[in-house]
C-alpha cells in the first residue's frame, strides 16, 4: 500500500495537469495545434469506452503476437544457452556475436521479415521472438556458467554425471539469470510487435495506431497506446509473479 501510493499520486497529478492543460486549450496553443489534435485524458477515456470492442479485437491480435513471440524467443533462448554450455566450440564461436548482436537494432530488419514470412502473424512472431531471444540466451548462458567451482568439485566427487551436474546444479543456478533476461525481453516484446505491425498488417494495436494517426484520430491513438501499456505492464507483472513463485530461494 505505502509502496505504490506515492507513484500513484504522481501519476494522478500528471493526468490531472494534462486534463487541465488540454481541456483549457493551453496545450494545443503552446504546440500550435488544433484543439482536436490534443485530446485530454477524459476524451481518451471516453474513446476507450466507445471503441472498446474495436480495441479489444486489435488488442487480442497484438497480445497473441507478443505472448507467442515471447514464448518462441524464450524456448529458443533457453535451448541455445544449454547448447552453448555443452559445446565449448559453439560457445567460443557464437557467444561474442550474441553479445554484440544486442547492440544491433533488430527491429530494422522487420521489413525483410515481412518479405520472407508474408503478411500474417508470421513476421510479427519472428520480430518479437528475435528481440526476445538474445537477452534470454545471453543471460541464461551466463547463469549456467556461474556455478561455484567448489560446488562442481563437490558434485563430481558425489559421482554426478555431466547431465546430472547440468540439471541438478547448473540449470537451477541459471534460473534467476534467465528471469532477468526474460524481464528485458518482455519489456521489448510489445515494441517489437507494434513495429512488426507497422511494417505490414491488417489488424493489431500497432496497425490501429498507424491508421488513426494518419486519420488524425488522436484520441483513439492514445486509447490504443493505453491498452498497449496495460498489456505490457500486466505481462511484466505476470513474469515477476512467476519469478517469485519459482525462484523461492533468493
Amino acid at each position: 500500500m505505502r509502496r505504490w501510493l506515492p507513484p500513484a499520486l504522481v501519476l494522478a497529478a500528471l493526468i490531472g495537469l494534462w486534463q487541465v492543460a488540454a481541456s483549457s486549450g493551453l496545450l494545443a496553443s503552446v504546440l500550435g495545434l488544433e484543439d482536436f489534435l490534443v485530446p485530454s485524458p477524459a476524451e481518451i477515456a471516453s474513446s476507450l469506452w466507445e471503441n472498446r470492442s474495436l480495441l479489444a479485437e486489435n488488442a487480442w491480435v497484438t497480445l497473441q503476437e507478443i505472448v507467442l513471440g515471447f514464448l518462441c524467443g524464450l524456448a529458443a533462448g533457453l535451448g541455445f544457452a544449454l547448447l552453448l554450455r555443452l559445446s565449448g566450440l559453439l560457445r567460443r564461436a557464437t557467444y561474442p556475436l550474441m553479445v554484440a548482436s544486442q547492440a544491433v537494432p533488430i527491429l530494422v530488419i522487420a521489413p525483410v521479415l515481412v518479405v520472407w514470412f508474408g503478411y500474417g502473424i508470421g513476421p510479427k512472431l519472428a520480430v518479437v521472438a528475435l528481440v526476445c531471444f538474445f537477452p534470454i540466451a545471453v543471460a541464461t548462458a551466463d547463469g549456467l556458467r556461474s556455478v561455484d567451482p567448489e560446488t562442481t568439485k563437490m558434485m563430481r566427487t558425489l559421482d554426478a554425471s555431466r547431465r546430472q551436474l547440468l540439471w541438478r546444479v547448473e540449470a537451477p543456478t541459471s534460473l534467476p539469470f534467465a528471469f532477468s533476461g526474460a524481464r528485458i525481453a518482455v519489456a521489448f516484446a510489445p515494441i517489437a510487435a507494434v513495429f512488426g505491425e507497422w511494417v505490414g498488417a491488417d489488424s493489431g494495436l500497432g496497425h490501429l495506431i498507424l491508421q488513426d494517426n494518419a486519420q488524425l484520430e488522436t484520441a483513439r491513438v492514445f486509447a490504443a497506446a493505453t491498452v498497449l501499456a496495460v498489456i505490457a505492464i500486466a505481462l511484466y507483472g505476470l513474469l515477476a509473479f512467476a519469478e517469485r513463485r519459482i525462484v523461492t530461494w533468493r
Partner: protein, 278 residues
C-alpha cells in the same frame, strides 16, 4: 544448545547407521602420496610430498595460507592430476578410480539453496540413480543422530552455520566412499560452535570410521581430530614435521585439549608451523 560433544557416547547408534546401505559399502582404503608435486603455470604449489594414511586413519594437514593444502586434496580426490609424483587411493592410481573412492567436502558448505536439507544430504544417492522417495527415507534416518531432526525439509537458508556444516558432512558421508577429503570444514564457524562440531565429528568418525584427510589452519583442531598431523611449509608446500596426536578424538574434547601432553605437542606443531612459514 545441543550437547554435540557427547556424541561419542552415541557411538552404537552411529554403528547402526553405518550398517545402512548408504554407507555399508565403505571398505577401508589407504592413501599413499609419493613424491607429489604440483605447479600452476610456473608457480610450484607443492613439492616432493610423501604422506601415508592407513585405512580408516585420520591425517591432519596444517600449514600457512597458500601452502597448497586444498590443491593436495584435489590431487588425492582425482579432481586434478599432479605434475609430479603419484597418489594411490585404495590401491588405485587412476584419477577416475580415485574420484570413485573419495568424497570431497569443500570449505564452504556449498549446500544447494533450492533443495531441502534432506535432498542436499541425499545428493550422492540421487546421482547414483536412487529415486527421490527412497533416497529421502534413507537419509532421514540419519538426521536425528546428526542433530538435525525436524529440519529435514528446511532450506539451507533456514539453518544455522553448525547445522549447515552437519548437513554438508552428512552429504559427504552418505556417499559411502572410503576416503573423505575435508577442506577446512569448520573454518566458517564461530569458536564455540567449532569446538562442538569437532567433538561431534569425532563421534561420527568413531561410529563410522573412514580414511580422512583433514585440511585445517587450526592446529588444535588437527591434533584433536587426527591420528597424525603433517605440518606443511609455505609455498611450495613441503612436510616440515609429522606428529602423532596424543589422544585422537578423545570422548571429552575439553579435557583432551587441555592435557599437558596435548599442549606440549601443540607447542611443537606451532613451532614447526612458524619454522615452515619463514
Amino acid at each position: 544448545m545441543r550437547q554435540d560433544t557427547k556424541m561419542p557416547a552415541e557411538a552404537k547408534e552411529f554403528a547402526t547407521a553405518g550398517a545402512s546401505p548408504a554407507n555399508a559399502a565403505a571398505p577401508g582404503a589407504a592413501v599413499s602420496i609419493r613424491g607429489l608435486g604440483h605447479s600452476y603455470d610456473e608457480l610450484a604449489a607443492i613439492e616432493g610430498l610423501d604422506l601415508e594414511v592407513p585405512a580408516r586413519g585420520v591425517l591432519g594437514l596444517v600449514g600457512p595460507s597458500g601452502c597448497g593444502k586444498s590443491t593436495l586434496l584435489e590431487l588425492v580426490s582425482g579432481l586434478q592430476e599432479p605434475s609430479a609424483g603419484e597418489v594411490e587411493v585404495g590401491g588405485a592410481l587412476d584419477p577416475a578410480e580415485r574420484l570413485a573412492r573419495c568424497a570431497f567436502m569443500p570449505q564452504r558448505d556449498m549446500l544447494l539453496p533450492w533443495l531441502a536439507a534432506v535432498d542436499n544430504a541425499a545428493l550422492a544417492l540421487r546421482n547414483r540413480g536412487v529415486r527421490r522417495g527412497p533416497a529421502r527415507k534413507e537419509v532421514e534416518r540419519l538426521f536425528e543422530r546428526f542433530g538435525l531432526a525436524g529440519f529435514e525439509r528446511s532450506r539451507p537458508a533456514e539453518l544455522s552455520g553448525g547445522m549447515r556444516q552437519r548437513v554438508a558432512f552428512l552429504r559427504t558421508l552418505v556417499s559411502g566412499k572410503p576416503v573423505l577429503a575435508l577442506d577446512e570444514p569448520f573454518a566458517s564457524l564461530d569458536a564455540i560452535t567449532r569446538a562442538e562440531m569437532q567433538g561431534w565429528l569425532a563421534g561420527a568418525l568413531a561410529a563410522d570410521p573412514r580414511t580422512v584427510i583433514l585440511v585445517t589452519h587450526d592446529v588444535e583442531e588437527a591434533l584433536y581430530l587426527s591420528d597424525r598431523v603433517a605440518v606443511l611449509s609455505a609455498r611450495p608446500g613441503r612436510v616440515v614435521e609429522e606428529l602423532s596426536a596424543p589422544a585422537p578424538r578423545a570422548a571429552d574434547r575439553d579435557a583432551a585439549v587441555t592435557d599437558p601432553t596435548f599442549v606440549a605437542v601443540r607447542e611443537r606443531a606451532m613451532e614447526a608451523l612458524h619454522r615452515g612459514s619463514r
